[in-house]
């Protein structure tokens, strides 16, 4: 995987994130929206709600429900992707919904639905993490009460080394992929997946690395929101 001992194929250091930028409020028809560029990933997230629940039997009298759809565009991959929802997309929709749910104060919106739509325009590995980051910013943009922003980042193992933010090539040829999502101010993990094998020591190292990555991402998310609402132009792009 590595060109030499210190760098990866992409030229990044082991604990280096890809180039990330977030823009908030790009879809006027949605209540909240964001676009994230996470390396070569390009993802749009849009939020509608709180709104009436349809079908009515899904309504909960004591809290809101979250509906989430993760969808890849036919042109998002190198070969055409069937535009209908695949098993993987349905699974990732569920994973994203469960990752963002602990951050939302659901009790504030009884009998309502919050809809989160994530469209992958271009994918390059780590799209679920990027999607969670975009969805989190879009939720804040929609004015939904949240305990914290949700930040997600993956760590993994390639060539026997623990690396941060693995891309498509590293995901396919590496030994492990571990996406996590956290609430950085509340020190809470809302998503923890591990595909592959890691020793206990490696797991701890990967978790620390991913947590640090999430904290860097949090600053980017926060700056994106500050930039839109308070015209703060500093640190727009990291």
């Amino acid at each position: 995987m590595s060109k030499n001992n210190n760098t990866r194929l992409s030229g990044r250091a082991a604990d280096e994130l890809r180039k990330i930028s977030i823009e908030v409020g790009i879809i006027k028809n949605a209540d909240g929206s964001a676009i994230i560029e996470f390396g070569k990933n390009k993802i749009i997230a849009a939020v509608f709600g709180p709104k009436e629940v349809h079908p009515k039997h899904m309504m909960r009298n004591d809290q809101a429900i979250i509906k989430c759809r993760y969808h890849m565009m036919p042109f998002s991959t190198d070969t055409r992707k069937n535009p209908s929802l695949s098993r993987r997309e349905i699974e990732i929709s569920k994973v994203i919904r469960e990752a963002i749910q602990p951050a939302i104060i659901m009790e504030d919106y009884p009998r309502t639905a919050i809809e989160v739509y994530v469209e992958i325009l271009q994918s390059d590995g780590g799209s679920r993490c990027a999607a969670i980051n975009a969805a989190s910013v879009a939720l804040a943009d929609a004015g939904i009460n949240m305990r914290d922003l949700i930040t997600a980042c993956a760590a993994g193992k390639a060539d026997g080394k623990i690396i941060l933010d693995i891309d498509d090539v590293e995901d396919k040829t590496g030994e492990a992929d571990m996406p996590i999502a956290i609430l950085p101010n509340l020190d809470t993990i809302t998503l923890f997946q591990l595909d592959g094998c890691l020793s206990e020591e490696e797991l701890k190292q990967a978790l620390d690395m991913a947590t640090n990555g999430c904290k860097k991402l949090y600053e980017i998310q926060r700056n994106a929101l500050m930039n839109k609402y308070f015209n703060d132009n500093k640190n727009k792009e990291v």
Binding site: K51, R111, D141, G143, N145, D148, L149, L183, R222, F230
Partner: protein, 221 residues
């Protein structure tokens, strides 16, 4: 005189630590007061709240709201109040207790598309908000233009002691009715309505700017 501390916050930001009382749009965790919305945090003595800059309208008791009749059944009108829920205006609340559904059709009173200025008479989160048109200034509106603004900017549109709304009304000779649901009813000439819509757009986009009154004043003049 008490001092007010203000700062810009996003969800998850710690506003202050210590023995403070959380009021609106904040939560308390481990002795920290955390913002739940994007907006301006205010610390007044020991009370902390966040004035949000975005979000949809959530009904509250006694709020004055401007809505459009969207449907009616035998006993009530359904009114779009620019919120998560439709408002319900019961026939008995308009026509009195003697109203009989078998004798009178509700569409003969308010039709679909009619604009009403109403008040939230009852709302307890388990049912849709009940509306009332009893009170000064409430009832059906016969003329005027409707304009929408984010409900979070309503305090900015009204201004300190109504300064902003007075400024707009004096400069354009128009009458503005501001619903707390973010719907504004403008009564005036066509030219004034266009000017006011521009001013409202500026207020919505630049709500956080301190000298907003001057900017709006220049625009209207």
């Amino acid at each position: 005189m008490s001092t007010i501390e203000r700062k810009y916050v996003v969800p998850g930001d710690t506003i202050v630590e210590g023995d403070y009382k959380p009021l609106i749009n904040v939560i308390k965790r481990n002795n920290r007061i955390i913002s739940t919305r994007i907006g301006m945090a205010e610390i007044i003595k020991k009370d902390v709240r966040v004035i949000p800059l975005n979000g949809t309208y959530y009904p509250r008791l006694d709020d004055t709201v401007i809505g459009i009749v969207v449907d009616s059944n035998a006993f009530a009108w359904e009114v779009d109040i620019n919120s998560v829920f439709f408002g319900v205006l019961q026939a008995s609340a308009v026509l009195g207790r003697t109203f009989s559904a078998s004798r009178k059709s509700l569409s003969s009173h308010f039709k679909t598309g009619d604009c009403l200025i109403t008040k939230i008479a009852s709302f307890d989160r388990t049912r849709d908000p009940l509306l009332s048109i009893y009170g000064p200034g409430l009832g059906k509106v016969n003329n005027g233009e409707i304009c929408k603004i984010s409900m979070a900017q309503i305090p900015r549109l009204i201004g300190k002691k109504g300064s902003m709304i007075k400024l707009i009304e004096e400069n354009t000779k128009c009458k503005l009715n501001v619903g707390q649901n973010g719907v504004i009813l403008i009564n005036g000439t066509k030219e004034s309505v266009v000017k006011i819509k521009k001013a409202i757009n500026i207020i919505e986009k630049q709500a956080y700017i301190p000298d907003l009154n001057d900017i709006v004043n220049n625009l209207l003049k």
